[in-house]
């Protein structure tokens, strides 16, 4: 039984079948990638995973509970943290605060009215934040405004924010989209580094093969809204169906 | 039934004023992303274009009339407009009487100029500033503009009647088979409605069919991309600001015979026009027009005697009540686009 179980999920938009009978299982402590050409249904599937869309059929279970119809903060509280295409961070806040917020969220829940406690007097949070920043080598930038960071540092910060919550599942949505090759490689290194340090489950949605094959332990290929193959990377490489799916389209 | 028809006519008329002001406001919102609190002041300036033209036409020299005396018992001084000396008293009097329609010609260049100067001189520097700064600077500008008008024209309303050809009312009731006097409507208000329709149609046609309009519409949707295509969107936006100012100004010019203009009439309309724009939906021109007419008609219906008896005070709050209901049922107003002014 995987930590994330997608069963028979189907979704139509008018006459268009975006997802058709998708089955997927992400195992704990693996890096699982979902790939596919443009229009394969990756975004729709992602939106179903995070509760933004409710599928017409099927179920999405995370850690034994359904995620369907839940609000983003509820899904996060279940243990799913999310990395966006372009880093979503709190630009007006300092790096330190950016990391403190997710730690607060994990410790105190979705809402806590600590209006008259002082942030900095909270030793527990402070230490955990410092440790996390040290972990991603950002301690020297702790007082910088997040918006002023370089793109790579923003990605690193976002990753730190997600990891600080010790998620049961880290969801990455095209983490290298629009990046130059050098940046892409940096991101791959960062993810490898993270993976090396801890046990973590990641689910990467990506169309860049290079990224996928560098990281993934298991790959699902999606085409025209339905999973084509699911296997380890070595078997995916050169798989005729995959080749067909990619070459069959405009690419 | 007759009462309903009458109030719908009233609503269309009120709605045309709301729609015209909101149209300019939403152009500025949509194209420039600027919260323009000085838009009401532009409406007011338009109205005072009409007053000013009237003042210019009636510029006078005094002639002492020995046969009459003034209130202190001195010989009466009589003002004779220079215009009478130039074109003769009859033509002169006609010109003065027609000063409001004539003001349209006067107001268009003046208002475009005011708009362009405002945009180049001030607003331009605030595109990248937070909305809070835009509010403060445009509010400050609105106060300054209205105080300047107050300084020259006083605080009292100034009567600016329509030409006598338009005074009186048209009897719709007779046309529809009702008794006389049941559904009458003033000619000038019909003129206003028709005028508003023409201006709205012109603005839409311009945006829809000219290449200029196409670029601006594209710019409204995605400013950066259009900028990247090498099109000088900034200059076009300046012109758009001028057009928005002219639309507000024309609404003001034609409004003067309906209600005598005063220096704070812009503030009276400011809040209302924001409500109209938002109910219509941010960034949507048809939305602004639709909401203008909708609110105008509902306001008129709510002012009927039996409605007030049924729900006391409904005429006081109807517009705001409608705004709340619309915004709660349609998150982005009637026809709003996603992501415009939502943060």
């Amino acid at each position: 039984m995987g930590i994330l179980e997608v069963k028979n999920v189907g979704k139509r938009f008018g006459g268009l079948k975006a997802l058709d009978n998708v089955n997927l299982s992400v195992q704990e402590n693996t890096v699982h990638a979902i790939i596919g050409p443009n229009g394969a249904g990756k975004s729709t599937l992602l939106n179903c995973l995070i509760g933004k869309l409710i599928p017409d059929t099927g179920s999405v279970m995370f850690d034994g509970q359904s995620v369907l119809g839940r609000k983003p903060h509820e899904i996060n509280q279940m243990g799913i943290s999310r990395v966006f295409q372009t880093p979503e961070i709190f630009g007006d806040l300092t790096v330190f605060e950016n990391v403190m917020i997710p730690i607060f969220a994990r410790r105190d829940g979705a809402f806590a009215l600590h209006a008259f406690k002082q942030v900095m007097n909270d030793r527990d949070i402070r230490e955990r934040t410092e440790a996390m920043l040290a972990d991603v080598n950002m301690l020297d930038k702790r007082d910088a405004h997040a918006a002023s960071l370089s793109r790579g540092d923003k990605r690193r910060l976002e990753m730190a924010m997600c990891l600080s919550q010790q998620p049961k599942l880290l969801l990455l949505d095209e983490p290298t989209a629009g990046m130059a090759r050098a940046d892409t490689n940096n991101t791959i290194d960062l993810l490898k580094e993270i993976k090396a340090k801890r046990d973590i489950t990641m689910c990467i949605i990506e169309h860049d093969m290079h990224v996928v094959f560098s990281l993934a332990e298991r790959i699902t290929v999606l085409a025209q809204g339905t999973p084509l193959v699911e296997d380890v990377p070595d078997n995916i490489k050169g798989h005729p169906k995959v080749r067909e799916a990619y070459l069959g389209t405009a690419h | 039934m007759d009462a309903l028809i009458l109030q719908i006519l009233n609503g269309l008329d009120k709605g045309s004023a709301y729609a015209l002001i909101a149209l300019g406001l939403t152009l500025i919102f949509g194209t420039l992303g600027v919260v323009n609190f000085a838009h009401g002041a532009l409406f007011m300036l338009g109205a005072f274009c009409a007053v000013t033209l009237n003042r210019i036409l009636t510029l006078s020299h005094t002639v002492v009339d020995e046969s009459r005396t003034d209130f202190l018992g001195n010989p009466m001084k009589v003002d004779v407009p220079y215009l009478f000396d130039i074109v003769g008293p009859d033509t002169g009097a006609k010109l003065i009487e027609w000063s409001v329609p004539l003001s349209i010609l006067f107001a268009i260049p003046v208002m475009i100029l005011i708009g362009v100067v405002m945009e180049r001189g001030l607003i331009k520097h605030f595109y990248k500033r937070p909305h809070a700064d835009q509010i403060l600077v445009t509010f400050g500008l609105a106060i300054v503009l209205q105080e300047v008008v107050k300084y020259f024209y006083g605080a009292n309303p100034i009567p600016t009647p329509a030409p006598s050809a338009f005074s009186g009312s048209f009897d719709f009731g007779v046309l529809l088979g009702f008794d006389p006097y049941v559904i009458i409507y003033p000619y000038w208000r019909l003129v206003y409605f028709a005028f508003a329709m023409v201006v709205i149609a012109a603005v839409f046609a311009f945006l829809q069919f000219s290449t200029f309009g196409m670029v601006v519409r594209a710019g409204m949707a995605d400013r950066e991309t259009v900028g990247l295509l090498g099109i000088n969107i900034d200059r076009r936006f300046t012109i758009m600001f001028g057009i928005a100012a002219a639309v507000a100004g024309l609404a003001g010019v034609m409004y003067t015979p309906i209600n005598p203009p005063n220096y704070h009439m812009g503030m009276d309309f400011l809040v209302l026009s924001f409500v109209v724009v938002v109910v219509g939906g941010m960034g949507s021109l048809p939305g602004a027009v639709l909401a203008g007419f909708l609110l105008g008609i509902l306001e008129s219906l709510a002012s009927m005697g039996w409605v007030i008896d049924l729900i006391p005070g409904i005429n006081q709050i109807i517009i705001y009540l409608v705004a709340i209901v619309v915004l709660l049922t349609r998150p982005r107003g009637l026809m709003g686009r996603k992501g415009v002014m939502e943060d």
Binding site: - | L9, F71, K150
Partner: protein, 458 residues
Amino acid sequence: MTKSNFTRRGLLKTGTAAGAGLAMPTIFTSKVWGAAHTGFTNAPQGDTVTLGFNVPQSGPYADEGADELRAFQLAVEHLNGEGDGGMMQTFSSKTLEGNGIMGKKVQFVSGDTQTKSDAARASAKSMIEKDGAIMISGGSSSGVAVAVQALCQEAGIIFMAGLTHANDTTGKDKKANGFRHFFNSYMSGAALAPILAKEYGKDRKAYHLTADYNWGYTTEQAIRESTEALGWETVNSVLTPLTQTDFSSYIAPVLNSGADVLVLNHYGGNMVNSLTNAVQFGLREATANGKKFEIVVPLYSELMARGAGKNIAGILGSQNWDWKLENEKGARYTGTNAFVKSFGEKYGFPPSQAAHTCYVQTLLYADAVNRAGSFNPCAVVEALEGFEFDGMGNGPTLYRAEDHQCFKDVVVVRGKENPENEFDLVEIVEVTPVDQVTYPPDHPQFAGGALGECNPGA
């Protein structure tokens, strides 16, 4: 131009010169100024006295406020012996000699009410607390008058109301320290009704449009009661929001309602717009029930008439005073010409009724102080209560002790068909004598208030 209006603190300097250089703490129980020494607030020290003129300088009534301020300046000049003395020559009481008030030179401070009660009170308070004003006057709406009157009662200052027409000012909100020279809604009704009946007949059906606030309510009530007593019928009455600018939706149904008279219980911008709209809809040319349709505006003002332009032609209304009164109605209204002359010579146009009231109120206050021989508000109240006077342009007048309301003739006017200039927009139809507009102090339209005790502030 007077250059001598130093603020009162200038004199404090001399007053406290003895203690100069030393810290001289003094403790007062309630108010700051002078209370411990004299028993009342802001007792004038030195040889000047400060009056506070609180008028609208921004907002819709700014022009009316400007006219009030002109009258105040004129009154101060006259009190100080400058200019021609204006009404001081005709005033029946002869204590004013052009040497200020009780020999103290008069100076004034001015402020902006914005026609908002909060702003008006803030402005009045600054006059009391900062400038040491002993009397506050002015204002152009009843909301402001009631608010400032209540403040003056608390502070122990005399309030000489400016333009305020609602019954409440000397009715349910009356105060011992407050006095109103201007007439009120009841008087408008009582003065207008007989003339309306005479001009338009006793069989009329009236439709009221009423501004949806206190003044509107009392005016509608007054007109209704007076006209219904003479046989008129009220068909309908509709409340209109204060913030309304376009009255078309309220005017449009009038012609089809069976009414043949429209009463506009509106003032200021409301009145200008509603009247303009009514004329647009052709109400002036219409006939109903076989009669010519008529419009009535209970409270007239020159500035509103100017705003409405030609539309006021032929419309009846009431006024507190008009500058043509003495010329047209004779010597009973003596004082009018004297005032119009000094005002007209100084400013170049005739004064409005708001200016007249403010001028008269200032003189009446000064005279009351002189007669009382004291600036103590309680002494002034005593001097003004029941005071009968003449020569102030309204004919014989009584300041009634029970409610501090002036009783005098009321002018019924009509908009001129062909005005010669923008200051000559109305013609006097008739003057309703004072006994026809007098009511008992316990009249139900004025119920619910109590003057209370005069408050000297200490």
